[in-house]
Symmetry: C2
Subunit: 410 residues, 2 copies
């Protein structure tokens, strides 16, 4: 960065809502996204919910000329859905899987199956400047299905905490850290305050000198023909859950010059890119004379309050998980007892040489299968909730450690 | 580090083999390990296979006075088994889960169930010196059960690769990086050459000025009363699979002054600490006048050869996984077909008003349950192998990217 002391970086972020067989007009929208990206001159494109590798391949072929460095984060049965297209060489990639991500038996929500991930990559700016490491994360947290009684809040807080820890650990030598994605959290939610406070990331919407797009920067708006209007009833303007966050480390300074969102449909078309609005930021990165030590964006007492609030929520989630672990364990025990009783009855019948078979064979057999089914299911649930308890406990402990540190050090 | 320019760091590493109900004389050995650690003045203690949290708590209580900063990495149903005791404050912790870890149906090996992890922590030396960040990883890779026909080699290579990537991403701002653990790989194995080559970590055994312990630094020796003698028949001296690796980044220099291993039993006792030998290193850390850029420990052409070798193995694993995915898919399809046939027969019988029931009801019912069982199992396997294919493919692709980079840049 010696020839020209500033770098203008254009970042594009979108939750593409590209689920095969389920998302409406998927292929058409993916084509539209590809066409637009080819026309515009972004430097970094962060996409989420590109669940089909074929969609990624189509985009890759189309964007080869203008974004020569693409990366798809492969993982899980269905994949991570995360991909990045970059004008700069991608030097390194790392994928981090959250330890908790909803419940396998909540089939209607399905978050558990498409395990949520944070992807990180090291890229290098190689134009006229000396290198500036970039660390963009394209990422998504567990969805919120009911704001009043949000059963997933503790899981989302664990994810926000793990994401913050992942960023802290992997970004120490970067000059600039970027995080873009659908975080499934409103700006004032405890999870986002925790993430921002603990990493020092700044919100491009709040910092932008110039903004253009949906009111309040909303990214899930009633104007969009694909959004569920009933879900947005309490929020007439829509909600903001897609973010571009950034910070500079060491001797760099970042400013958000401009932030834009799409407004319910692709520019000049009547079809939106997705059910989410795209977020586009123009950042100015400048080398400073002097290296500045890492600072927290939030004052320590405020951060301590946020961590305390998050810890309380995680603690409540822990109690709920312990209750569920207990009841699934009891259910497994009851099923085992029933099986044992049946085995004794069968043995008794055999020993009595078929004298007094109290039950027709078929019903007896069906009952045994039922008991086996319940035993397997309840054991599975018990193991699952045991794991949940461990992870919630571990997060709560880490938060306690951080709180002690925040309170101790002046 | 301005007052005294050098720091002497004593590191202890041991795979404790502390599996509840399975490991022999577990509690006695844990007590012995605790007593020894309290007497010796190590700075960092990295333990693996401490599967029971009660064992950890016992150690924690016993070592409170001399190692005031302990950490247990909680995760999964059984846990990670990893814990650290430190004389220095632990500032931050992060746990990384490998994407592949054996097969759930290989019950006799059980690796899949105790998901293997790499734990990382940032610690700070706060005595008379200025801070030196330490990043110890206590960690373990998938076990090797048959060296001649090692079905787990591709998984172990994926883990070695992921561990190397994890270290590269999380250690950039550390002054000194330490990795201690049971890596389940012989020193000449491709996995360890890959890990060392790609991270630049040095092997304390190879670098030590003074060595004391089992011949060739072996850590699984026939002398130890808990080792399986038949497994060690091809290796009369034993094998070396537990390591302490290190490197200095930025303006520090690390030298291994002394390396010791236990020799089949705890000093002055007839009982070993574990079925593995403990590894103890004394490192000298010195501040250098000038910052040195990160270097690879292995020359680029050699590293390219290692990555190529690993990539070939991963590619072979990928082919095997694709075959297994295909056959489990076929099996699921056949079971589904059988179920459909049965349903048709049942419907036919119902329509014909029980006229020609060709099968006794009980056998018919049992056959249906069998088909359902096979369908579920085969579908589960198919999903599992789909995930395996994705991860192997992703690793192969990353290796290809690195190879291109190694070949391109002078």
């Amino acid at each position: 960065m010696e020839g020209d002391p500033t770098l203008r970086l254009r970042v594009f972020d979108l939750n593409c809502w590209a689920i095969r067989y389920l998302s409406k007009r998927r292929q058409e929208r993916i084509r539209l996204i590809g066409d637009m990206l080819r026309q515009e001159d972004f430097d970094l494109v962060l996409l989420q919910e590109v669940w089909s590798e074929r969609d990624y391949s189509d985009l890759k072929v189309k964007l080869e000329g203008c974004y020569p460095f693409p990366h798809y984060f492969r993982s899980g049965v269905i994949g991570s859905g995360l991909c990045v297209f970059s004008r700069f060489p991608i030097l390194d990639t790392l994928l981090y899987q959250y330890s908790l991500n909803g419940y396998p038996y909540m089939l209607q929500h399905g978050d558990w199956f498409c395990g949520k991930f944070a992807g990180s990559l090291g890229a290098r700016q190689v134009l006229a400047w000396k290198l500036a490491s970039l660390l963009p994360c394209s990422h998504q947290l567990h969805a919120e299905y009911c704001r009043e009684k949000d059963a997933y809040l503790p899981h989302r807080l664990v994810q926000a905490w793990e994401l913050a820890q992942f960023i802290r650990h992997t970004s120490k030598a970067a000059d600039v850290v970027l995080l873009g994605g659908d975080l499934n959290m409103h700006p004032e939610d405890v999870g986002i305050r925790l993430l921002r406070g603990w990493t020092g990331l700044r919100d491009a919407f709040a910092e932008a000198t110039h903004f253009e797009g949906c009111e309040d920067g909303c990214t899930l708006v009633p104007n969009n023909c694909f959004t569920d209007k009933s879900e947005l009833l309490p929020f007439p303007l829509g909600i903001r859950i897609d973010y571009i966050l950034y910070k500079a480390i060491s001797s760099f300074m970042v400013k958000c010059e401009e932030l834009k969102t799409t407004t319910g449909s692709a520019p000049g078309m009547d079809l939106p890119f997705s059910d989410h609005e795209a977020v586009m930021a123009t950042l100015h990165i400048q080398r400073q004379g002097q290296a500045v030590g890492a600072t927290l964006a939030t004052a320590k007492p405020v951060l301590a309050d946020v961590v305390t609030e998050a810890r309380t929520e995680v603690g409540m989630g822990l109690q709920a998980a312990q209750r569920q672990r207990y009841s699934s364990g009891r259910m497994a025990l009851l099923a085992l007892l029933l099986l044992l009783l049946q085995a004794m009855a069968a043995l008794g019948a055999l020993a009595g040489l078929d004298a007094g078979q109290p039950f027709p064979k078929l019903s007896f057999c069906l009952l045994a299968f039922l008991a086996i089914g319940i035993l397997l299911l309840a054991t599975g649930l018990h193991l699952f909730h045991t794991m949940e308890v461990k992870m919630l406990h571990s997060t709560e402990e880490q938060m306690r450690m951080v709180l002690r540190m925040l309170q101790e050090r002046p």
